[in-house]
């Protein structure tokens, strides 16, 4: 989208931008409603570097995901539920950093990451959240724990599906649009499911996912920043700042090095996070205007 503030100011013939030293300067507004200019030769080099690095980032995360999932499944099948509960949010971090890209690969996202509330009548429920409920049944009513065999079946399928996704990612071709839309999508994930505490309904470990989504979006932005800065320095500075604001609020929720569970957040903390995510989401949407 075009940010309405930018537009409103463009409409009156002025806009503000920040030069490198942070001094505001007035600059002529760009034409509204027009498509972004094609990439210059320099920008093409910058973009090629960004897409290559982002591809590697996704592949590294998926490799890490396979390791984490293996560890999780091993603990689960050994009957070490405490260990499985400790591994759970950290292993999922690797998924949540790249989930919007990984979800594009095929039809494995629902098998790996479906939430119970999202299931249709009679649909089979597999993946992380099925096991999450079994490990944290406190909020479930009349819950019958899975047998070891049921649990092992779900766990094995999760690991197999994860390995499939990782293999599919080996010949990944990422475009600049994938990065931009992937980052925007990760912000939507935060705004839609994490800041509301819906994603990790049973374990309440939403803030781990929140951080991971933010990591993935930030990575994408950082890689494209040279190009965005060249086209709209003020936008790049604003997004940089807003990532910092969200991270600052997120850091403030930690006790020691660990996030607290979602139920420990105050209403004010949730609202502040939600406001900051809305702001960053609007700004990331603006990247589509320049790239």
């Amino acid at each position: 989208m075009r940010n309405p503030v930018t537009l409103a100011l463009a409409a009156i013939g002025l806009s503000l931008s920040l030069s490198a030293c942070g001094t505001p300067t007035e600059s002529a507004p760009e034409a509204t409603g027009s498509a972004p200019k094609p990439l210059t030769a320099t920008e093409k080099t910058q973009v090629a570097k960004a897409t290559a690095e982002y591809t590697k980032y996704v592949q590294d995360e998926l490799a890490g995901l396979v390791d984490g999932t293996t560890e999780f499944v091993t603990a689960l099948k050994a009957g070490d539920d405490d260990r499985a509960r400790t591994i759970y949010p950290n292993a999922r971090t690797r998924w949540e950093r790249v989930e919007t890209i990984a979800a594009e690969f095929g039809d494995l996202d629902p098998a790996i990451d479906a939430r119970e509330a999202g299931l249709g009548e009679g649909e089979e429920w597999t993946g992380w959240h099925r096991l999450e409920k079994d490990l944290w049944p406190a909020r479930a009513k009349n819950y019958t724990p899975m047998t070891d065999a049921e649990q092992a079946e779900i766990a094995d399928k999760l690991l197999a599906d994860t390995k499939t996704i990782q293999r599919q990612g080996e010949d990944l071709k990422i475009t600049v649009t994938d990065i931009v839309e992937g980052s925007q999508g990760l912000l939507e994930e935060i705004a839609g499911g994490k800041v509301t505490g819906e994603e990790e309904y049973w374990s309440r470990t939403d803030l781990w996912d929140f951080q991971a989504n933010l990591d993935g979006a930030w990575k994408g932005f950082d890689l494209l920043k040279p190009v965005i800065e060249g086209r709209d320095a003020a936008l790049a500075a604003k997004i940089d700042y807003q990532f910092g604001v969200v991270q600052g609020l997120l850091d403030a929720t930690k006790r020691g090095d660990e996030f607290v569970t979602y139920d420990k957040l105050t209403r004010q903390q949730i609202k502040a996070l939600s406001d900051a995510v809305n702001a960053l989401g609007e700004s990331l949407a603006e990247v589509s205007e320049v790239l």
Binding site: P4, A8, A11, I12, T32, S34, Q247, D275
Partner: protein, 425 residues
């Protein structure tokens, strides 16, 4: 994942805060032939939505300022001014509109006002005490020395059962229109423009005006079934408006920027309608002090007859001592009057299945401490109606005057340079 260090963030914040102000906004916004006649405008001596004829629907929203940058705040008020003027003239919030941008981008207007006219939309913007000082009393944006003495949070009144987080605010928008969709559209688009600078704290819909502000307007009824606001100050009472509504230049040395503006007080009064509806008609009329049909005082025959508080029926006054009209009447408050612009509300059902309905009181006064607080105190202490009311919301805002061409809303305040820079909050 790396995160920007404090120094980098602070540097950007400082850069933003040192920004320019007073950029031009105005009629050059649209080519003359594309402009439709505006029903309401922020330009003029006063903002619209005060003495202008009350529309049928309200969407009121209160915001927290989330930025520390005065520059961002000024920039947003500028953008609000532009978008508000556009929407009041029936235009989309942004220049491209719901369909005019590239399909790869989100539109700059949300679109639900397409095919509708401006429906008499008025947008009124106010500044809360929190814009000037934070809860610890610290200066937020270099504005503290311009905080008018009268702009302070309302006291907690006896019997208040305020909903946590749903009172007060740093900024407010009152959007009134004859079509509820238009009022909602205005608040929604201004909220979106404000992301990153403000976040909504609470909002309120109102569906039926419960007052009249112009001489021709009939007095509407509230959800108790009674005419409400018979004694309201009307738009043609110039002298009364100057005396009771508009802030004068010499009212407060700190608040001279507010000259021509006013104070907006909101109180959300829930009516326990299930209880009220079981009251005998005679009792209802005695609680109010007026007849239910005509709205005449119990001592008179016509709506606009002056109540006679001394009239006796045997040993009892005709208008009981705890009748609403007596308790809040100007003659019992040193002549203090208000301009009322409230709305009926029905927000669904509460947790025990009762209607969550009542009145969203909006009153405009020249000094809330003198004209509103004493009247409200008298009401909660002595008014028979209190048996059927619960106040769940309480706020006060300063509503700056209208603007001139080329100004943005609140410019009279922001142009007064205080200490510049990032606030120390």
């Amino acid at each position: 994942m790396t995160s920007p260090g404090i120094s980098r963030r602070a540097a950007i914040g400082a850069g933003l805060a040192a920004g320019a102000t007073g950029l031009l906004v105005g009629r050059e916004l649209l080519p003359a032939d594309q402009r439709r006649p505006a029903n309401h405008s922020l330009r003029g001596a006063h903002q619209p939505g005060i003495t202008t004829e009350v529309q049928n629907h309200l969407h009121f929203a209160s915001f927290d300022v989330t930025t520390r940058s005065r520059h961002d705040l000024e920039r947003m008020l500028m953008a609000w001014t532009v978008a508000a003027e556009r929407m009041m003239s029936g235009q989309p919030a942004g220049p491209l509109g719901p369909l005019g941008g590239r399909p790869e981008l989100a539109p700059d207007d949300t679109g639900e006002a397409m095919d509708l006219d401006s429906a008499n939309l008025s947008i009124t913007i106010g500044f809360g005490p929190g814009l000037f000082r934070d809860r610890a009393g610290r200066d937020r944006f270099g504005l503290a020395r311009h905080q008018p003495t009268a702009l302070r949070p309302l006291p907690r009144f006896p019997l208040d059962t305020l909903t946590p987080g749903a009172s007060g605010g740093d900024l407010c928008i009152q959007a009134c229109a004859d079509d509820p969709q238009i009022a909602v559209h205005a608040v929604r688009n201004l909220t979106r423009i404000g992301f990153g600078t403000v976040g909504m704290r609470w909002s309120q819909h109102g569906f039926g005006r419960s007052s009249a502000t112009t001489p021709g307007q009939t007095t509407p009824r509230n959800l108790m079934g009674f005419k409400d606001g018979t004694a309201n100050i009307r738009s043609d009472e110039t002298e009364a408006l100057d005396k009771h509504v508009w802030v004068a230049a010499d009212d407060d040395p700190a608040g001279s920027w507010l000259a021509g503006g006013s104070y907006l007080v909101t109180r959300r009064a829930m009516i326990t309608v299930e209880l009220w509806d079981r009251q005998k008609l005679r009792d209802q009329e005695e609680f109010i002090g007026r007849t239910k049909g005509e709205g005449a005082p119990l001592t008179g025959r016509h709506e606009f007859d002056e109540p006679d508080f001394r009239a006796m029926a045997g040993t009892q006054p005709v208008i009981p001592v705890d009748a609403h009209v007596r308790v809040v009447h100007p003659t019992n408050h040193g002549g203090a009057r208000m301009l009322r612009r409230g709305y009926n509300i029905a927000d669904g059902t509460n947790e025990i299945g009762r209607m969550d309905a009542g009145l969203f009181f909006i009153g405009f006064v020249r000094d809330p401490g003198k004209q509103f607080v004493p009247v409200q105190l008298a009401m909660v202490r002595n008014d028979a109606l209190m048996e059927y009311l619960r106040f769940t919301q309480s706020s006060v805002f300063a509503v700056p005057p209208g603007i001139e061409d080329g100004q943005s809303l609140g410019q009279a305040l922001f142009a007064r340079r205080g200490r510049r820079g990032v606030a120390h909050a």
